[in-house]
């Protein structure tokens, strides 16, 4: 394989793993509650910022990372309880506005608490690039890929093996039926937000050493996660994985071979084309309408 092409694929996979984590968060919340959460990017940002701040304040790196993820998870759960749950019966557009409001609150609070300057975490295991068939890869990229793989594995075990995971799946199929067989639907909804935020935050933490994180970095990451989730088919777990990796690859290849100025436009052009050709996403089921 051409070293150049391999290089683009490696950086595309790293980027893709990040988008995948964002997309998984989108899909999980969409499944559980039918809500598109426009604050997903802010969850990612919150995790990265909290970990970076703690690490800069002298907390050991592993502890700072775990704390960052937990803080983001807590924020996610709180957001569901305080802002989304009270508006359960509102229309889709109203709930979209609520999540946009939440994203503004999180951005503003981060700016007040931690300032406008960008933060960075130290690389987990050194900054010396590893050589691979003429291309190079940062050790941190391996961390990103490993974190992505672990989360996907963990989620499939969670949804396949655990009681609460199965309860979440049941809720996404039919909320009322799940409630009737004893699933605590309220808890499932809160958990879906907490879990989505924590998963996004893992992405924010592992990517922070490569690309710095600031109070306003969440928006684009969130939007691209939305694109990735849509590409794969909203609400589909495998779709989110596929959509995220695909998006990262295409973006890296465009930046490398076509135009780096237009790399940010690529996801949106791509999702546009996919939706026109296949309105339910690449892996989504064909929707049926209830009259």
């Amino acid at each position: 394989m051409l070293p150049e092409l391999l290089q683009f694929i490696l950086s595309g996979m790293t980027l893709g793993a990040m988008y995948m984590l964002s997309a998984l968060g989108f899909s999980m919340i969409y499944n559980a509650s039918g809500v598109i959460n426009f604050a997903q990017g802010e969850f990612i940002m919150a995790g990265g910022m909290a970990a970076s701040f703690l690490s800069a304040a002298g907390v050991p790196l592993p502890l700072a990372c775990v704390a960052g993820v937990m803080i983001a998870g807590l924020v996610g759960g709180l957001v569901e309880r305080l802002a989304v749950a009270p508006a359960r019966d509102a229309a889709v557009a109203s709930i979209i506005i609520i999540t946009i409001g939440v994203s503004m609150i999180l951005r503003g609070l981060t700016e007040i608490l931690l300032g406008k300057r960008p933060y960075a975490l130290p690389h987990f295991s050194g900054e010396a690039p590893l050589a691979l068939r003429g291309a190079t890869i940062l050790p941190q990229s391996l961390w990103v890929l490993a974190a992505g793989a672990l989360i996907v594995l963990g989620l499939s075990l969670f949804f396949g093996r655990t009681r609460i995971g199965k309860g979440m799946l049941a809720t996404s199929y039919d909320r009322l039926a799940a409630q009737l067989v004893g699933v605590d639907v309220r808890r499932v909804l809160t958990l879906s937000f907490a879990l989505s935020a924590a998963i996004g935050a893992v992405g924010g933490v592992v990517i922070a050493p490569i690309s710095t994180v600031a109070y306003d970095t969440g928006m684009m990451l969130g939007l691209k996660g939305f694109v990735a989730a849509t590409l794969g088919g909203l609400g589909s777990g495998p779709g989110a994985v596929f959509g995220g990796l695909f998006l990262g690859l295409i973006e890296a290849l465009t930046a490398g071979y076509v135009s780096s100025a237009y790399k940010d436009a690529v996801p949106f052009i791509l999702v546009f084309i996919v939706l026109v050709l296949r309105p339910q996403g690449l892996l989504g089921a064909k929707p049926t309408d209830r009259i």
Binding site: P86, A91, A93, V102, E111, T230, D264, P279
Partner: protein
Amino acid sequence: MTHHPDQSLPGSRQSSILGSILGRSDARRTGAGRVVGLAALAAVVALLPLLLPNAFYFDVAIRIAILAVNGIALNLLMGYTGQISLGHAGFFGLGAYGSAVLTTHFGWTPLPALLAAAGLTAVIAWGVARVILRLRGHYLAMATLGLGIIISIVLGNEAAWTGGPDGMPVDGFSLFGLTLSGERQWYWVFGGLLIGTVVLAQNLIDSPAGRALQALHGSETAASVAGIDVGRRKIAVFVLSATVSAMLGSLSAHYSGYINPGIAGFLQSVELVIIVVLGGMASIYGSIFGAVVMGLLPQILAGYEGWDSVLFGVILVVTMIFLPRGVVPSLATRLRSARLAGKGGAAC
């Protein structure tokens, strides 16, 4: 409780004025009620300059009028057909940049440039609508969001024509040798535009076409069974909405004298959606209310970095929790039911 809130009851005239201002979507709403609401709006527009002390406040009022016209345009689409658009600022940007590029690089005069930009936007909107309006709900939101972002990225990258991320200057608006200058003259342009847009929107809503659109919002399947060409109606209102925004974009580019790709960006599109939803979907006066809030809040909160964003977010969340249908329709319903309760008590 045998009494109905009837127009002939004593004391109900005042509430019909209130009702028309609050945009009640009542089948009983008469042409007279509409005229009263419109007269109230015209009076506010006409008398406001007496209260505005200087050019800065005129500028704020103009920006509110721009937001209101844009909000009403989007509300025609969102409120009356139930189609969400998260990229509407893109059309505003196309109009603004269309005018700017044609007048700056090609030496066109402003009016033909405005019409050409609006025509071009209409064609683009028509082409896009044909393919994306088949989508539903969140997929449509994604497609329109993508469209807006693509437009703003193109505007930011084609620096030879648009000045890139820094933006480009735009000449003033002149017609037949007369040039509009200063906030006070522009105020009347945008004030008139606002009233014209309200008239247009009300006529559209009460026309057979408008009723067809509302049926669409209720249930697309039922509407198509009733013989409404669902696809064509949706495309028509999408194109109309985009074209109004484009013309507004042209005028505001000439007014502000400087534009950058941010005017077409995601945050601007979100701002418009907030105006529609906060004020109330399908409420014309609601969109004006939303525009007033969105126009004034940043002024009031300016200088509190970070806190402005937090407070703004809190207002959005709290409003949507307690008034989920938007401020104006929710308050209108409460007023009406309070009035009903009052009458019922008197009758007993």
